[in-house]
């Protein structure tokens, strides 16, 4: 029956791809420099941080949660890494897995508190984020610490024309996409997000799945923190602030259902590119940062409206 074939391409991927193509066409038309390989590779490099946090957020949203501590975890990771390495440069290499483990640990705490208290994750993660932000600001109000120059390679290094950070982001997305699509644990993410009780009665340990989702989110968010240390060479106590809400935009635009259980991380990846390209284009057009915020807000509103309407038709 043809009915089965009609839906093989996820419609949300089609929508975000069409938007992406529209932005590219607009960019090629409005700016000479926008379409150059150099600029597009720069966009890929700068999209890495948003990509990492959005990937983490996607996992949490897929299991029906949300993580509003991502900005604080980015900040805490950068400050922790830069401060520790400045004290003892020999710690640089161990601090790379160390800071990722730190992020994963904070994610685990988030998941644990969500499960243990039964309070909505929005409140729990807002709380842990606030605690982390407070601790960081107690430690320093100014950018602090420092890392060896070679660590800049993560943010600025290139393999041919391709930026290392962008490549790492693409590999992470590819790995998570494969994991979600082709493994039992990946299917469990969708099942728990689609109906926690049904998943439990089907033999899925939903608590474990939720813990893994939050832990993985913390891991990827800390990777964004490491990227910022690499990019700026210091730990900035304000660097993560914009990422709490920014991490949600590509998730929504990419068609991942905010209630969980539906969506595709490739959609979130396309959402990351869409947001990054729009910002890049607006920069070339000398549009104020505040206008960029308005555009992002409008994108969220339109995307949510479109997907909510589509969901009602299901």
């Amino acid at each position: 029956m043809a009915a089965g074939r009609r839906f093989r391409v996820d419609p949300s991927l089609v929508i975000v791809t069409v938007l992406l193509v529209a932005v590219l066409i607009a960019g090629f038309t409005l700016s000479e420099r926008f379409g150059t390989l150099r600029n597009l590779m720069n966009v890929l490099e700068q999209a890495a941080a948003l990509g990492f946090v959005s990937l983490g957020q996607s996992l949490v949203v897929l299991v029906g949660g949300i993580d509003l501590s991502v900005g604080a975890v980015v900040t805490a990771s950068t400050v922790l890494m830069a401060a520790v390495v400045e004290m003892n440069p020999a710690w640089m290499v161990p601090m790379i897995p160390g800071v990722l483990a730190f992020g994963a640990f904070i994610g685990f705490i988030n998941g644990f508190l969500v499960l243990r208290t039964g309070v909505h994750p929005l409140i729990v993660t807002l709380g842990t984020g606030s605690v982390l932000n407070g601790l960081v600001l107690l430690y320093t109000l100014q950018p602090t610490g420092g890392v060896p120059y070679w660590f800049e390679e993560f943010a600025y290094g290139r393999i041919g024309p391709v930026p290392v950070a962008g490549l790492v982001m693409l590999v992470c997305f590819g790995f998570v996409w494969f994991f979600l699509k082709y493994t039992a644990m990946g299917r469990s993410f969708y099942a728990v997000g689609g109906g926690e009780e049904s998943a439990r009665l089907s033999g899925i340990d939903s608590n474990r799945v939720i813990l893994i989702a939050y832990t993985a989110c913390g891991f990827f968010v800390a990777l964004a923190g490491a990227y910022f240390v690499s990019r700026t060479g210091v730990g900035d106590p304000r660097v993560g602030e914009p990422f709490t809400l920014a991490s949600i935009t590509p998730v929504i635009v990419g068609g991942i259902l905010l209630g969980g259980g539906k969506g595709n991380v490739l959609g979130a990846l396309l959402g990351v590119f869409l947001i990054s390209l729009i910002n890049n284009l607006l920069n070339y057009m000398d549009v104020s940062t505040f206008i960029q915020w308005i555009v992002q807000g409008l994108i969220i509103l339109v995307a949510v409206s479109v997907y909510v309407n589509r969901e009602r038709k299901l």
Binding site: A184, M185, S188, G261
Partner: protein
């Protein structure tokens, strides 16, 4: 049949089960068993406690009194996912599929209780994890063929008509290859043709896979046709238990269905 053989023949034995929510007594001192390989119907008017009984069996509710013996062992306090792993699968009165997932993926979630490779090997998709995934996929394809749902295997189940969703839910429960399959009103809301199809599938499941089935159903014609034995509940109490012909002629059962006033 001697006592040992009889107890070996029993898959589920519920002894003196009582369940209440605050002051409301949902189940009162109910005992009955389910033999291996039989279709056991649980019937009763609305509010009789049938779904509560299924919820006790699959561990969603924990009775305040009584014992649940499953596969010859007394069951202690367990979480629903642990009970599912013991071999009890279920479909729901109000369909509880994962609406964003395809038919195939919904059925694959049913295989989770049989997957043993850890997350690391699953993610790497090598060696035994790959073989395991492919073997389960093959098993699921067999169920898809059996339920004649090949054409919707990639369709998100949220887009399917009600009757097909019920069939997919049966498929997910079948994929679990459980020892006991709990079907909560599998024909509710279906038209005549869909009911006939579902009846055929339930009987085929029973015949081909030898699955033990506990069935809640309001359509008495269906119940009397496909059940080996029937237990009847009313206001949380057991008022009848036996073969369909015995139950059909039971005065208490007739009164319950005709609406004789309770004290």
């Amino acid at each position: 049949m001697d006592q040992a053989a009889a107890s070996e023949d029993i898959l589920l034995d519920l002894r003196n089960i009582s369940l209440s929510f605050g002051g409301v007594k949902a189940l009162i001192d109910i005992s009955f068993d389910i033999r291996r390989g039989e279709v056991r119907a649980i019937i009763g008017p609305n509010g009789a406690g049938k779904s509560s009984m299924l919820n006790v069996i699959n561990g969603f509710y924990h009775p305040q009194e009584g014992e649940v013996w499953f596969d010859g062992k007394l069951r202690g306090p367990m979480k629903p996912h642990q009970i599912a792993r013991q071999g009890i699968a279920r479909t729901f009165q109000n369909i509880a599929l994962f609406r964003g997932m395809s038919t195939l993926d919904n059925l694959m979630t049913g295989r989770i209780t049989h997957m043993h490779e850890n997350m690391f090997w699953q993610a790497i998709w090598k060696g035994r994890a790959e073989k395991e995934e492919l073997a389960h996929r093959e098993r699921v394809e067999h169920i898809i063929d059996f339920l004649e749902i090949q054409s919707i295997r990639k369709t998100p189940v949220g887009k399917l008509p009600y009757g097909l969703q019920k069939r997919v839910e049966l498929g997910r429960a079948l994929a679990a290859e459980s020892k006991l399959l709990l079907l909560d009103e599998p024909m509710a809301g279906m038209n005549l043709e869909e009911k006939e199809d579902m009846c055929r599938f339930v009987l085929d499941v029973h015949d081909q896979f030898g699955t033990t089935i506990a069935l809640i159903e309001h359509d008495m014609g269906v119940v009397m046709d496909i059940a080996d034995r029937v237990v009847v509940l009313d206001y949380g109490r057991k008022i009848g238990d036996g073969y369909p012909d015995e139950v059909r002629s039971n005065k208490d059962v007739i009164d319950a269905y005709l609406g004789v006033a309770h004290d």
